[in-house]
């Protein structure tokens, strides 16, 4: 398995010269949403807390880095961490409130949605950060401002982000933190009786997850150059974030990556074909059908299913 992974990474590193700009862009989205999905995976997959509000962290990271760059001249390479930190503060707040007050399942989902929506509404109504019109970042192509002329640079950065997040999740999975998270997901009360401070570990997962997602916000801002509250804080973005790890396999290291490799091209294809037929937005229907299919038939996700198929052993 390790060799396959290494080969895969090497192939991805070597690809860009052979790809045209359009395909490069698709890969960028695969890597970027794979990154976001992997960050979410920590909370939603490993800790088992379904968050539908992760867009809030993207938004906070994006706006923070953008404002710092535009108003204070701070390079996004640093602004990225400020954005991540602020996102982590919100994540800690949501986690603290949610877990201290023992909100589970649907109630926790709604808490995350409520916070994301509040962020969206506040952003919409705050003229200082652009209000409803949003922010537009002037393109300078200056690497020091996290902007590149060449699509390929974004490719490598997105890939680095995805691999970085994957590395972090792998590290966590292999240590006590990860073991505790999966046990908490199975039965939190039993964990408590065995000495596990469930609140602390869930909160930690939330903080790491929101920090990483916030960093992703910076990439978002300086790749797309425009930020609108409805897009960057909205539920549709949260759906994009969670759907890749869920389809690919929440709670596994490779799940979000596999999910992203399945979904991004699928989204592109359906966007392409349906747009030709005059149907725009149909790719989200595909998401919906996939979600239904996965929940009904492959609830663990694609990766565990494939692994079982090829290994014939139950998951340890």
């Amino acid at each position: 398995m390790r060799w396959a992974g290494l080969v895969g990474v090497l192939v991805l590193l070597a690809l860009p010269p052979f790809l045209d700009s359009y395909v490069t862009t698709i890969f960028i989205f695969i890597f970027f949403y794979g990154f976001l999905g992997q960050a979410w995976n920590l909370v939603g997959g490993y800790a088992g807390q379904l968050s539908l509000g992760h867009a809030a962290f993207v938004g906070i990271g994006a706006y923070t880095a953008a404002m710092l760059s535009m108003k204070a001249g701070v390079t996004p390479w640093l602004g990225m961490f400020a954005g991540g930190a602020l996102a982590a503060v919100l994540g800690a707040a949501i986690g603290y409130l949610g877990f201290r007050f023992r909100l589970r399942g649907f109630y926790f989902v709604l808490l995350t949605v409520a916070f994301a929506e509040v962020c969206r509404i506040v952003a919409l109504n705050t003229e200082a950060i652009g209000g409803a019109l949003g922010l537009y970042i002037t393109f300078t192509g200056n690497p020091r401002q996290f902007q590149f002329q060449d699509n390929r640079s974004y490719y490598y950065i997105a890939l680095a982000l995805m691999l970085g997040a994957t590395g972090i999740v792998t590290l966590i999975e292999r240590r006590r933190f990860g073991a505790y998270l999966t046990a908490i997901r199975e039965d939190e009360t039993a964990c408590e009786a065995l000495g596990v401070n469930a609140f602390k570990y869930k909160l930690l997962a939330m903080i790491v997850s929101s920090f990483l997602t916030g960093i992703g916000g910076t990439f978002y801002a300086f790749y797309l150059f425009s930020l609108q509250p409805n897009t960057v804080f909205g539920i549709p973005l949260s759906v994009e974030i969670i759907i890749r790890p869920i389809i690919g396999g929440a709670g596994t290291v490779l799940g979000p990556i596999l999910g992203s490799f399945i979904l991004s091209p699928l989204a592109e294809l359906s966007r392409f074909y349906f747009a030709k037929a005059g149907w725009s937005g149909a790719h989200l229907m595909v998401y919906g059908v996939l979600l239904i299919g996965v929940v009904l038939f492959v609830p663990q996700g694609a990766y565990p299913y494939l692994r079982r198929l090829f290994a014939g052993r139950p998951k340890a």
Binding site: G105, F106, L111, A114, I121, G281, G288
Partner: protein, 290 residues
């Protein structure tokens, strides 16, 4: 602060609250009976709206008559969704149920997008333009009728649940599924009917709203979130809570628009939601947490 403005806000809030109540009652019925949160609730409502629009533009049927057709159509949709999909995941973890219904929501919302396009639609009703004056406050006749019909429908639902045999069977299954099975109630059918009724409520609500506000497919998810807000504030599974919660939230939003700013009104309901989630998750009238 001008008392007229406050009064207007109160009245508008109250009138629109009828619709909110209807939406919430449908959602809480589904949850009360089978402990499933219908994440596609708002998107079903959107289809109610578009069906009303179709009826109005293709068949010339006024939404204030057509809402019955919308309710019936959504009943069928809800029944089918329950039988085909929800039935299979009744015992699954809550997260899985939410994801399933989210999938249904995505399909419904984007089917509407593909069929009708992203631009806002509106339905013209014969009542659309007339207003009444109550002192210094004006009342949209359309909104008044919307309110009246919504209240009437809620009352009809109440009668159904408490006075008919099928209604009692539904409440029995909600109270104690095992007991209901023991006394021979066809629980699967009851579940499907309950889901259908929940969808019908929201289909009617959609038709009633279609004459009053412009709508587009993306309204689905926010309508869902609004319904969840109301149901949690009022208490999951409590019909009275859903009914009163709908009025309460609508008035709170309306007053929020008056005192803060129109675009901030949702902030009020979200803040209420967060407070309730943290301090009284059972809601104002709830029977025990989910």
């Amino acid at each position: 602060m001008d008392p007229t403005l406050i009064g207007q806000g109160l009245l508008n809030g109250l009138l629109f609250g009828g619709v909110y109540s209807l939406m919430a009652v449908g959602l809480t019925l589904i949850f009360g009976v089978m402990r499933v949160v219908n994440f596609a609730h708002g998107d079903m409502m959107v289809w109610g709206m578009y069906l009303a629009w179709l009826l109005a533009t293709r068949a010339g049927v006024d939404p204030y008559a057509g809402f019955l057709v919308c309710a019936a159509a959504l009943f069928v949709l809800g029944f089918a969704v329950q039988r085909a999909l929800v039935d299979r995941i009744l015992d699954a973890p809550h997260e899985m149920q939410i994801l399933l219904m989210l999938g249904v929501a995505l399909v419904l919302e984007n089917a509407a997008l593909v069929t009708f396009g992203p631009d806002p639609h509106r339905v013209r009703s014969a009542l659309g333009l007339s207003t009444l004056w109550v002192g210094p406050i004006f009342v949209d006749v359309a909104r008044l009728v919307t309110f009246a019909v919504a209240i009437a429908l809620t009352f009809v639902l109440y009668l159904f649940l408490f006075r008919t045999d099928l209604g009692k069977a539904i409440r029995a299954a909600a109270d104690n599924t095992y007991g209901a099975l023991v006394i021979g109630i066809d629980v699967r059918r009851v579940y499907a009917v309950a889901f259908g009724i929940g969808a019908a409520c929201v289909g009617a609500a959609g038709a009633l709203v279609s004459a009053v506000l412009p709508f587009q497919p993306s309204a689905g998810l926010s309508a869902s979130v609004t319904s969840f807000n109301i149901v949690i504030i009022g208490g999951m599974g409590s019909l009275l809570g859903a009914f009163l919660g709908g009025l309460l939230v609508s008035v709170a939003e309306s007053l929020g628009a008056v005192f803060l700013a129109p675009s901030l009104k949702e902030l009020v309901s979200f803040s209420l939601l967060i407070l309730i989630l943290l301090f009284r998750p059972a809601g104002l009238f709830g029977k025990g947490a989910a």
